[in-house]
């Protein structure tokens, strides 16, 4: 039985001017094969012009159990949004 082949996350930039976006994952022995495989698996129909592969083990993710503490406080900080502030109509669009 062989050792398991590492897992990689694949990110693709659809075209210049856009950010790389996560599209899925794949198994490959090293980064060279991961790139080749990503090209075959995820870009058969012009999906992009640039690929990143990242070892899945290298990703640190926020804990879903802490989603509320992490992200809910922003909901009640309405003063962070422009619409919180009144500006007179006479000054026009601001």
């Amino acid at each position: 039985m062989t050792a398991t082949t590492p897992l990689w996350e694949v990110f693709i930039r659809p075209r210049n001017g856009l950010a790389h976006k996560h599209v899925g994952s794949l198994h490959a022995a090293d980064e060279v094969m991961a790139l080749q495989s990503a090209r075959d698996v995820y870009t058969r129909r012009g999906e992009g012009n640039s690929i990143w592969v990242v070892p899945s083990a290298a990703i640190t993710a926020s804990d879903p159990d802490q989603t509320a503490e992490n992200f809910e406080p922003t909901a009640d900080k309405i003063y962070r949004h422009p619409t919180f502030y009144d500006t007179p109509e006479d000054v026009g669009h601001m």
Binding site: A29, D30, M33, D40, A61, D65
Partner: protein, 327 residues
């Protein structure tokens, strides 16, 4: 290529009523569930089973068509068939990686396929006897797959839904190239038209079986519907498929091999004859004409590829060691 009505999943779960109610509330609000979110064990198991069966079906589904690549009648047909089979390999890989987000490993899934523990779509246990079958598979089998897969794009589990969106985008090419093959034969010589009709005769009933047992006999449907893994029942999808396909056959001048098939004005759809469920269960359980060959071919590919996997890992290790030594 396609996912069957789920075969043999165990959706039982043992969490507290409060936990299950909280989870159901998220589902009912159409929130997507992501891999590290809390989820009932039954939900996780059902999805691992279903996505696994779906992935295996894509991989095994490469075999009946691979059988004809070298014998395609023209370069155009050969290039299309190669691209289609490559897509199916790709679909299998998207789906395996979606299943892996639930905590099952690729090796476990492969092992379950090769040992016969995991099921795959019964349709691939039928042989592809003539070139016309390449057309019929694209038209009917991929057509049935699309019926099944479009609602799966809205499945409550995020990674499965995202994989299905990619798959569906590619699947339409498969169906159209199949229909074109059948159309070319149907408009050809009497012999060619007979080939198309013979192929339709052999694939029609197995295609209807792809949607799985009738709703009344499908024990896992209710829970999957409540969890929004499934959006339509087996019978609803089968009906949509028949209603869409009958006019396509009429256009070709081919006859659907079901003497009881007739339009039902009241329900606005076709009534069909009795499906041979004994055959379905025989084939699901591995007694289809090609079942042994399919698993044998997968096992051979896995065993013959072992040295490649080992060599790739050894090479990666050597490069890593050299890099460290150079630093």
């Amino acid at each position: 290529m396609y996912s069957q009505g789920l075969i043999g999943a165990d959706g039982r779960t043992e969490e507290t009523p409060e936990f299950l109610a909280r989870f159901q509330k998220r589902i009912d609000a159409e929130e997507k569930i992501e891999p590290k979110d809390e989820m009932p064990e039954g939900y996780r198991r059902t999805l691992i089973r279903q996505i696994g069966q779906h992935a295996h079906s894509e991989i095994v589904g490469m075999l009946p068509e691979g059988n004809w690549i070298t014998r395609a009648p023209s370069l155009r047909r050969k290039a299309a068939l190669l691209a289609k089979v490559q897509d199916e390999g790709g679909h299998g890989l998207y789906l395996y990686s979606a299943a892996e987000t639930l905590g099952v490993s690729r090796e476990e899934m492969t092992e379950e396929l090769l040992s016969g523990k995991a099921k795959y779509s019964s349709i691939f246990n039928y042989p592809t006897l003539s070139w016309a079958d390449m057309g019929t598979i694209g038209w009917l089998v991929d057509g049935a797959a699309i019926m099944n897969q479009i609602p799966l794009c809205r499945c409550s589990f995020g990674p499965y839904a995202r994989a299905m969106i990619r798959v569906c985008k590619e699947e339409s090419f498969h169906q159209r190239q199949g229909y074109e093959i059948v159309m070319t034969l149907a408009q050809g010589t009497p012999e060619q038209k007979a080939m198309a009709q013979d192929s339709l005769n052999r694939w029609w009933w197995p295609s209807l079986m792809m949607f799985g047992p009738h709703d009344a006999d499908s024990q896992h449907s209710d829970q999957s519907m409540a969890w929004k893994i499934k959006r339509f029942t087996n019978d609803e999808l089968r009906q949509k498929f028949i209603d869409a396909t009958v006019p396509q056959a009429e256009y070709l001048g081919l006859t659907i091999p079901d003497p009881d098939l007739k339009w039902n004005e009241d329900k606005g759809g076709y009534d069909h004859g009795t499906i041979d469920w004994d055959e379905f269960w025989r084939v699901v359980k591995g007694h289809g004409p090609m079942a042994k060959d399919r698993i044998k071919a997968r096992k051979k590919a896995w065993d013959d590829g072992a040295w490649v996997r080992e060599a790739a890992l050894a090479h990666a290790e050597k490069r890593r060691a050299r890099k460290i030594a150079a630093e």
